[in-house]
């Protein structure tokens, strides 16, 4: 009798299970989406767009996974290796890895049919086709840098807002008063500090001398020759050290949070950072005490900085490619993108973004409009991130620049190390741009 009851129960459970599978729920397509730059506010914005989409498309369920910021990229890598993700957040820092490993699908066929493709900005098209000429992502916005300055301090000292790197140094030196623990510039010598000297190199050299804006360490027609043999780089390094001397001494170890805190906390007068810091300053600083200005121009007559971006890509082995692409493009339409970019202080991807939000042309964002209006002056370049060697370089470069700032190695030794590193990368991996 007991055996009979057990069999009956098992059959009933199986029947229930299969009944569930056969219901309309089973027809629902589930898209797994993983974000990388996780924050509660950002997750809420994305979830809001997801809720709207699910209401309009009841047969689609978007499962948003938001790993902690610190190990989000490692989590995405794991999920892509195991075929567990459909849509993933791709960044300028991670795209080379994902493309090298063939983890991303080409979105070109979907973008070609997209009704909003004509309003995509030139920067959007460039970032979309950065590697292999294929479209591996649709950007969600750009992290462009600008100069933050203490309006009140400059007014009191009678110092004009700097427009060039030289003026920035002179103003920083004028305002530095170490005895009062006040310094000119929020220097970044810690994690990823190399990105800052790179912008100075490029502003000294000019983009036209580079092999490609996406391979900013190599010279045009140089067959693998690097920029580090140019006299401009040596001048830029001398400038870099002087700028450090007009900054707090412990800024040799400063990373993002310390340099922003240095500016917001009243230790420094100038800061160069992405637009996302506007939100921090707006909350923690009084209006009228700070403002933003365009990125400083170098001796080449150009102000060159990376056009950092994040965006959404589709996994190469995604099972529901059409459904995933449909949501990805919905997320990136002008209205949703304008909301997203405005909420998180990014430069939007569509040229008609101001139709949906006033945030992009007014107030602290005005410097971005000013820079966008002079494309011959404000230009973009980035490190050769498509090289496998770049991952190693990122971890070694900061220590080498710190040694230079601490006078452990000379400018020639540093430039020689940089030159040899990237020549070897070119010889090993070939020309990848």
């Amino acid at each position: 009798m007991k055996k009979f009851l057990a069999i009956l129960l098992a059959v009933a459970m199986l029947a229930t299970l299969f009944a569930g599978c056969g219901s309309k729920e089973a027809e629902k397509v589930t898209i797994t989406m993983v974000e990388s730059l996780t924050s509660p506010e950002r997750t809420a914005t994305i979830q809001g767009i997801i809720d709207k989409y699910e209401a309009e498309n009841p047969n689609v369920h978007i499962e948003l996974i938001s790993p902690p910021l610190e190990n989000a990229d490692a989590k995405i890598s794991q999920m892509l290796m195991n075929g567990e993700a459909d849509i993933i957040e791709v960044r300028d820092q991670t795209i080379a890895q994902y493309v090298n490993n063939e983890w991303l699908a080409d979105l070109d066929p979907y973008v070609a049919e997209w009704e909003h493709k004509d309003t995509l900005s030139e920067d959007s098209w460039t970032s979309m086709h950065q590697l292999d000429g294929k479209c591996y992502l649709v950007p969600s916005g750009f992290y462009q840098r600008c100069l933050y300055y203490r309006e009140d301090v400059l007014a009191d000292a009678g110092v004009a807002v700097p427009t060039t790197w030289q003026e920035l140094l002179e103003a920083s030196q004028t305002l530095t008063d170490a005895g009062s623990n006040f310094f000119g510039y929020s220097f970044r010598g810690g994690s990823s500090g190399y990105q800052y000297i790179d912008t100075i190199y490029w502003s000294y050299i000019g983009v036209d001398k580079l092999a490609d804006p996406n391979a900013g360490y190599y010279l045009k027609d140089g067959n693998g020759a690097t920029i580090f043999t140019l006299p401009e780089c040596k001048e830029a390094l001398a400038y870099y050290k002087e700028l450090f001397q007009a900054s707090p001494s412990d800024s040799i170890a400063w990373a993002f949070s310390e340099m922003v805190e240095g500016f917001i906390g009243g230790t420094t007068a100038f800061l160069i950072q992405d637009a996302e810091v506007i939100a921090n300053c707006s909350v923690d600083m009084e209006e009228g005490t700070w403002n933003t200005a365009p990125f400083p121009i170098g001796p080449s007559g150009e102000a060159v900085f990376p056009n950092g971006f994040g965006g959404w890509g589709m996994a190469a082995d995604c099972e529901n490619k059409d459904a995933a692409a449909a949501f990805l493009l919905y997320l990136s339409n002008p209205e949703n993108n304008a909301t997203y970019a405005a909420n998180h202080a990014m430069v939007p991807i569509h040229t008609n973004a101001s139709d949906f939000s006033d945030a992009f042309s007014d107030g602290y964002f005005a410097c971005y409009s000013e820079m966008a209006g002079q494309p011959a002056v404000y230009r973009h370049a980035t490190e050769p991130q498509m090289y496998v060697a770049f991952a190693t370089f990122k971890t070694e470069a900061d220590a080498m620049y710190q040694k230079f700032l601490l006078d452990e190695i000379t400018d020639d030794e540093l430039l020689q190390w940089l030159d040899e590193f990237w020549i070897e990368a070119y010889e090993t991996e070939g020309q990848l741009w």
Binding site: S77, M81, A96, Q97, N100, N101, E102, A178, G179, N181, G189, G190, S191, P248, S249, D250, S251, I252, A253, A255, E258, E261, G262, G265, T267, V388, F390, A391, T392, K394, T395, E396, D398, A399, M400, Q402, K403, L406, E408, W417, F421
Partner: protein, 300 residues
Amino acid sequence: MKSNKRLGQRRNIFIFCMLLPAILLPLIFTYYPLIKGGVMAFQNYTLMDIKNVSWCGFDNFANILSNEAGVDFGQIAKNTVIWVVVSLALQFTLGFALSLMLKKKFKGAGLYQGLIFFPYAVSGFLIGIMWRWMFNGSNGVINDLLMNLGLIETNVGWLAQKETALLSCMIANVWYGIPFFTIMITAALRGVAPELYEAADMDGASKIQQFFNVTVPSIKSVLLMTVLMRVIWIFNFPDLIYSMTSGGPANSSQIITSYMMTLVYSMDYGKASAVGLMVIAFLAIFTLVYMGATKYTSED
């Protein structure tokens, strides 16, 4: 007869099934990663390009030891020794002192014990971030405190100077590690028979003589084992360094395991595994030498 045999077989299967998790879990979560890591140490394995993984012999080891990677391995090894020896000595001494204070029951002992043990319950990374802000050269509370006490005149960039970066990390590590010794030694001290002290008293032994001739021999095995465990843990504890200085400035606070983490974050799993294998080999040799030198046996 036949049913007895079947019963025996069933019992054996049942026992095997019960043991299976104990066999499988260490195999999956300890030995598989260990073997995989060992294999990767001899491969050109970078997450930037896992489609082109190839055998590279001892290249990863040679690359690390020859400083080709732009990192002075000799300096890292020296930093590691300083990090382990200084942290261990101070953690042990202060932990032991606190244990002696906690040995006797007093009013509020529970609360005091809770406060002493608290740091040990917090994540190493969190502790690192907390100390990083305390040591901040511009707005840190430590500079403020020292200035108010008149010990320094201007701000000191504790984590930004080569001379003080590792020292600052060690101060945080000592603070973090004291509770471990306190917990272990307090438990051991409470197990020492009071009669031994009464007998020593009757023999006229002073407190210092009692400490060296009664207390220390009675808890010798616990002391030897905790010191060994702590050496291994401090050696394998890059969390604080990574979150406080990332090994900088200019690698002045880099230890072997924080360097391994740096390699992991650069996605070079081959080199990181090579460093990991070197760490395992070193600690295994150290353990054998330590056990031999201290003549440690389980009967101690």
